[in-house]
């Protein structure tokens, strides 16, 4: 996907100023006239397809094919250890899932984690982006590296680190923070949903805030300095500059950051799997899909959960792109 975007922007930016001839008029069937490209634009388009084409084909093979296979499998009752008893049951798997409170609790937990982490990450990420943007040239490099370190750590590793820090036997958190009301040496963080979710979300936020701050930094760099300078001359306070000039001008970058993170957060798995394995009210949808497909080897039921999870992700995309008008191409440093 990322490889396709630059090719697209290249085409868009170079065709706009070029000459355009309307040849579609002769069709006479009322269709939208086709664009006529200059030789150079056509060559660039061809190059773009040749560069992105193989990646596109690989993507079809590794994403579209499994998706279709999962949709097909979800219509069967199929257990890996009982291959002979495979039977077509239509939409029954979906009926089982959607009438089960387990699915709805999982969905609620997942949505909760998504909303909280994305909001906190957005605020923290914006602050970090401002720091990186304003930092002196001499410290900019080390600063960006330092901020990016958590993002470079493998999620499973960071999940274990957070788990051991909070674990009642090996953890130091209870000891260090015993002055905070409610925290003492007998607090078992992973024994109930509230505290367990807190640790899971804190770990998630710690790890992925750098990602969101990088996206926001790109947006911040796009806001022309003249605008904020003009505002400053007009006597606008820092807060007014932020609210009236900077944030409106980087709305596209913010929305892209929110969308990417929301999609990521909705598929949360590693942290929950390592820290609680879904125990005590921390079950999320990815884990539910895992439990059916991988643990129970119920391929049919598990595929149905995966398909529903995929539909939820599609819904988030649809809401973001159609309702909030997130412009995925515009924020890529184009015009």
């Amino acid at each position: 996907m990322t490889s396709a975007i630059p090719a697209k922007t290249t085409t868009a930016s170079s065709t706009e100023p070029g000459p355009r001839l309307d040849v579609g008029k002769g069709n006479g069937n009322g269709k939208k006239p086709r664009k006529q490209y200059s030789d150079r634009a056509r060559a660039e388009r061809r190059l773009g397809w040749m560069l992105a084409g193989p990646a596109f084909l690989v993507m079809l093979a590794v994403t579209l094919y499994p998706i279709l296979q999962a949709v097909y499998d979800s219509l069967f009752q199929f257990r890996l250890t009982a291959p002979d008893e495979r039977a077509f049951i239509g939409l029954q798997n979906y009926a089982v899932i959607l009438t089960d409170p387990v699915w709805w609790t999982g969905l609620r937990t997942t949505v909760f984690i998504t909303v909280v982490t994305v909001i906190v990450e957005l605020v923290l990420g914006f602050a970090l982006a401002l720091v990186m943007h304003k930092a002196l040239k001499s410290v900019r490099g080390p600063l960006r590296t330092a901020i990016l370190v958590p993002y470079g750590i493998i999620t499973v590793v960071s999940a274990f680190a957070w788990f051991y820090a909070f674990d009642i036997n090996s953890g130091y958190v209870n000891n260090w923070f015993s002055w905070v009301p409610g925290i003492d040496e007998n607090l078992n963080w992973f024994a109930q949903g509230g505290t367990a979710l807190f640790v899971i979300m804190a770990s998630e936020i710690w790890k992925t805030t750098p990602f969101i701050s990088l996206l926001l930094l790109a947006g911040l760099a796009q806001v022309p300095d003249e605008l904020s300078e003009a505002a400053k001359v007009d006597g606008a306070t820092w807060w007014e500059q932020m609210r009236k000039v900077i944030i409106p001008n980087m709305k596209a970058a913010i929305m892209v950051a929110v969308l990417f993170r929301a999609l990521d957060a909705f598929r949360i798995f590693d942290n929950v799997f390592i820290m609680t394995n879904g125990a005590y009210g921390t079950e999320v949808l990815s884990l539910l899909a895992y439990r059916q497909s991988i643990s129970r080897l119920e391929i049919g039921l598990g595929s149905a959960v995966s398909v529903l999870l995929f539909l939820c992700v599609l819904l988030i995309c649809f809401v973001a792109i159609k309702l909030f008008k997130v412009d995925l191409a515009g924020s890529q440093g184009g015009k």
Partner: protein, 439 residues
């Protein structure tokens, strides 16, 4: 300007792209051709241990005079993940599964669809002599031996002599759960039990129900629709009473809801330690801690052991049974050779050696005669006695559903209600097995 910058970048990044392409092609080429395998090479999928299985593999390979060569391949550390990997490979017809180290509860699930190669009669006869009853049951499915018992694990009662003495308990006789709960309460100490929502919970529930004379599954060979559970019974209620009392009265300490075997050992070695049900690894682990200087010798001297606690004074307990059996994949190219190797692996001598070096007790009672065992494991006799009366976990092709269902309804211990939990868990597992509910 943007165009020129882009061109410059493109030129600059060309060597990088070449390196990347080289890496990708290299990886693809490498993944395509694995290590070449000779015809007489056998792959043994082992669970992680302290290197004992690899040593046995090498020893047997050498002794075979080149007839076969055993190569070990490591499985994940969690029993559930081991099962997941093996089940998927077996279902996909993986030919490399020559020998597998299998956890007994998962054997029915793999034997039912014919994923395991049949055990030849002569091998069965040679490898089952003197094997403890529970291990044999675990190796059998539908009255047929489908795997070969290798080592057998069981939980015994570990206690701190000072606490037992202060509470006035006579530890030369078997004790009951009621007694140790009372002792922990009066001495203000914690009991070492496993309250985590994990396989260890099923182990505990099963041991309590079996000790009270019940069983989790009434008819193991029933299909998913007709399976009958014994959770909602007198024995089930008695088990729920023990678990809920320990949970609600805080007798397991604050760590109980997330406690596994390792965590309970750490708590047991601490100041609040009193009584603990756990596997024999406790002994080498505690000795190791003393040698490493992280634990006082006095703690080690204070540790005593006995048979798993009873549910009532007049009924013998049924301690948990674990261990590893060896199976051969149905699609293996060399099943005969694999069984020949298994016969070597499970020899009495190797089982004894494995116990001494890795702390995993033999399934064959004869191996306990080895003088080295009594030296390294003073409690070897208790372990052997425990194995003789131990009860395996329910054997059913749907073990994973039954076990996960129990874990989800019986943890945390403080949430268990003797009036409702046995019935709710029974209903939940039944409807999951009928395909009416998610797990």
């Amino acid at each position: 300007m943007p165009t020129s910058r882009r061109t410059r970048n493109a030129v600059k990044s060309r060597p990088k792209a070449a390196v990347l392409a080289g890496l990708v092609i290299g990886t693809m080429a490498m993944s395509g051709c694995g290590p070449g395998e000779a015809d007489n090479s056998l792959t043994w999928y082992i669970n992680p241990d302290a290197g004992g299985q690899a040593a046995i593999a090498e020893k047997c390979s050498d002794e075979s005079d080149g007839r076969y060569r055993i190569e070990t391949s490591l499985l994940p550390s969690q029993a559930a993940s081991q099962r997941e990997q093996l089940a998927r490979r077996l279902a996909a017809g993986d030919k490399s599964l020559d020998i597998m180290s299998l956890d007994p509860p998962f054997i029915a699930e793999l034997a039912e669809p014919g994923f395991l190669a049949p055990v030849p009669d002569d091998v069965a006869a040679a490898t089952t002599e003197n094997v403890v009853e529970g291990a044999l049951t675990g190796a059998t499915w539908k009255d047929e031996l489908v795997t070969v018992p290798f080592w057998a694990n069981t939980q015994i009662l570990w206690y701190r002599k000072s606490v037992a003495e202060a509470a006035g308990l006579d530890m030369s006789q078997p004790v009951t759960w009621e007694q140790i709960m009372e002792a922990a309460r009066s001495q203000d100490k914690s009991l070492g039990v496993q309250g985590r929502q994990a396989e260890s919970m099923t182990v505990w529930v099963n041991a309590l129900i079996e000790s009270a004379g019940g069983s989790i599954i009434v008819d193991p060979e029933a299909t998913a629709d007709t399976i009958e559970l014994g959770l909602d019974s007198e024995a089930g209620v008695a088990a729920a009473e023990v678990i809920s009392t320990i949970g609600e009265d805080g007798l397991g300490g604050p760590g109980l809801p997330t406690q596994d075997e390792n965590d309970s050992l750490i708590a047991f070695q601490g100041d609040s330690g009193s009584f603990m049900v756990n596997y024999p690894f406790v002994w080498p682990a505690t000795n190791g801690a003393v040698e490493a200087g992280t634990l006082d010798q006095a703690v080690l001297d204070d540790i005593g052991w006995g048979i798993f606690p009873r549910m009532s004074a007049d009924q013998e307990s049924a301690p948990p049974l674990g261990g590893i059996n060896l199976g051969v994949g149905a699609e293996s190219d060399n099943p005969d050779l694999a069984y020949e190797a298994i016969q070597c692996i499970v020899s009495v001598e190797n089982q004894a050696e494995y116990f001494v070096t890795n702390g995993n007790p033999p399934a064959n009672t004869e191996a306990y005669e080895d003088p080295r065992i009594a030296e390294s494991f003073p409690m070897a006799e208790t372990i052997r006695d425990s194995l003789q009366v131990a009860a395996p976990r329910p054997q059913t092709p749907f073990y994973n559903e039954v076990s996960t269902g129990i874990q989800q309804t019986w943890a945390p211990p403080a949430g268990v209600d003797p009036e409702t939990t046995p019935e709710t868990s029974s209903d939940f597992i039944t409807s999951v097995l009928r395909g009416e509910q998610l797990l």
